[in-house]
Symmetry: C2
Amino acid sequence: MIQRAVILSTGDELTTGKVVDTNSNYLADKLHEVGIDLVAVITVGDVPERLEWAWRSAMGMADVVISTGGIGPTADDLTTETIARITGRRLIRDEATVEHMRRIFSSVGRPMPENNLKQADFPEGAEIIPNPLGTAPGFQLPVMDGERITHLVVLPGVPREMKPMMENWVIPWLRDNRGTDTVFAVRIFQTFGISESGLDQAVAGLIKPEEGRVAFRASFPQISLRVTVEGRPGEAERRLEELAERVRAKVGHFIFAEGDASMEEVVGQLFTKRGLKLAVAESCTGGLIGHRLTNIPGSSRYLKADFVTYWNDMKSEVLGVSADTLAKHGAVSEECVREMAAGARKRAGVDVAIATSGIAGPEGGTPDKPVGTVCVALDSENVTVSRRYQMRGTRDWVKLLTSQVALDWLRRYALELPIAESQLFRR
Amino acid sequence: MIQRAVILSTGDELTTGKVVDTNSNYLADKLHEVGIDLVAVITVGDVPERLEWAWRSAMGMADVVISTGGIGPTADDLTTETIARITGRRLIRDEATVEHMRRIFSSVGRPMPENNLKQADFPEGAEIIPNPLGTAPGFQLPVMDGERITHLVVLPGVPREMKPMMENWVIPWLRDNRGTDTVFAVRIFQTFGISESGLDQAVAGLIKPEEGRVAFRASFPQISLRVTVEGRPGEAERRLEELAERVRAKVGHFIFAEGDASMEEVVGQLFTKRGLKLAVAESCTGGLIGHRLTNIPGSSRYLKADFVTYWNDMKSEVLGVSADTLAKHGAVSEECVREMAAGARKRAGVDVAIATSGIAGPEGGTPDKPVGTVCVALDSENVTVSRRYQMRGTRDWVKLLTSQVALDWLRRYALELPIAESQLFRR
């Protein structure tokens, strides 16, 4: 019966501040999703007596200890040895693992160094956890202390190896061993355009505590909403789908994705599906919208060009913004961004163009147009929309939030929704 | 005598995976710099018995325990109470702190909620650590256990409040109480264009272990080199400057900055100082170079425009790349990027332009031009340079590395150095 966990994170790179421990955050999130109570995270460097203290402390408090790091081939990789010592197990070499490692090395045309062999040594009684993306597997070792069993789960420290092992092996195993016949069904909604408290209010009363758990996670500029339902297999998913319907009906198109997709991914899917072509004209965002769009593989199918016209003469010369508009309204005006968007659309010969201009700060603000003043426009054959917003925050926040608004407008355009429906800003 | 530390990180947001614990990384880095040995990091949620276990374990192992979080005004903020309970101290209200908090609330025109008063309660014997950016101060409490003294240092969890308290108060206090009359002098060199092993080789033998400590930190795409010297005040700095001179003489212009500056900051400083104007033409980087340049406040002084010509017809129409070049050499060719750079420079009327074109992947590779093939060109009145590179890694790595190469070329151009001197790539 696995209900309480301790995470153990090891390595000198953590205790000397060289590396941020993102593994523990990932594991904490996954454990929370599975419904396992995380008692503590303990981090120590590669020092035998500290490792021993950490393992003993962890084993005293938890039904499962999940460890990352310390199973590489070098002398300062001490995890397996430490476990063997404190549990009194001997180490047994696993020949299948040796074979697997030799194959990996020969596939890249190198002989396997002898010290790699220790990665094939496991404490007696351990169950091997395959590592599809690396040389060294992990293992799971049940340890008895009187009536109590503590399971030791040992994973590598490299995130790209650790995560698939967690997802393919450890999480299903944890679900099977939680000691109840219930499972957790989880749905994540990605939202934008509504504040955390607005979302909280919208959802309040929608889901009763006995029906499911609701959690928010703000990761600027978007806010995700996670709904978790505990129940019997099949039944939990059915009840979750019912709750998800209520959330969708209430939160509507502030939800831009279900699951982990980013706004630029969603825009990419919609533009690909609808065969729409796109151009961007940026001033204050300085290339960030183009950068985000082109982070998506295949974005060359729908993005033709991004004109970052940082100086006013470039706005005129490249996008055809009139000297009159610039003189009368300035570059940060709805008039200017409308002309930028129209100019970009025409120049690139595309279906739709989006434009931004604003004062990202920290300098350049005026009483009329303080730092954080941002104008956005979208231009297409049938629709032209523009808005002026007042944002708060540092230069990078203003840039990021503006880019998110612009991408959200593109999503709404492709879905034929009202374009500028954010509740985040007041004029 | 403070030599060993434990960091204690508290809060349910950490044990449920809502937030990545970047505070502990920051503190570990600072402790390492001061020369204090970090024994462990312990993270627990807001649960009384777990907090108590964490504090007792930490106090048993360290001369100083640095805690973040748990000193807010709400019921789940338990740090001060926990310390009072396990050390047997009573809590005393500090009237100066009450006064300070009332002033902050009245300055924003709000009455202070009664529950905030608990933030003015400190264990008897505590020394208050001022919090210039927030309501709640921290404190330092020395606790005797026989002959041994352990110092408990309590800081808020909000990074923007915690960091100045650490820098202004805790670090100087730690330096004063390390129990030696020596200090650590530290210099950080930011490098690009040389691999970690190349840098290691260059520096090997340059600095003897008894002269100073050398550490590398790779944070893609740059590698920093940290030199630390321990010695008496004044003397340590002098010896460090001597070692720094050796590093500069050996590593040369692969060092793009000393201290924490980014490549785009350095480019900004150089272009501002020299009054140079700049344009960018991007294909595979998709706006990332413009985005990075415009992250720097004041970048509108030197960046006029960034033309992200993602489609070939845009390269021709906007930048004047000839149909012949595209037909004969393709968009990913030195010929094409040279014409892109020349076209961007002419169009924007600037001193220098930089251009990129490549195959960021995961699709679009051919036997001749596999994924990771990238061409970069720089064009100015007197100099035109282009190179073809073969990069490795995912789409975002190829984009990021290409942008770093481009920015490095701009730096080298402004410094009148040879442009394309990277040792990172082989054709």
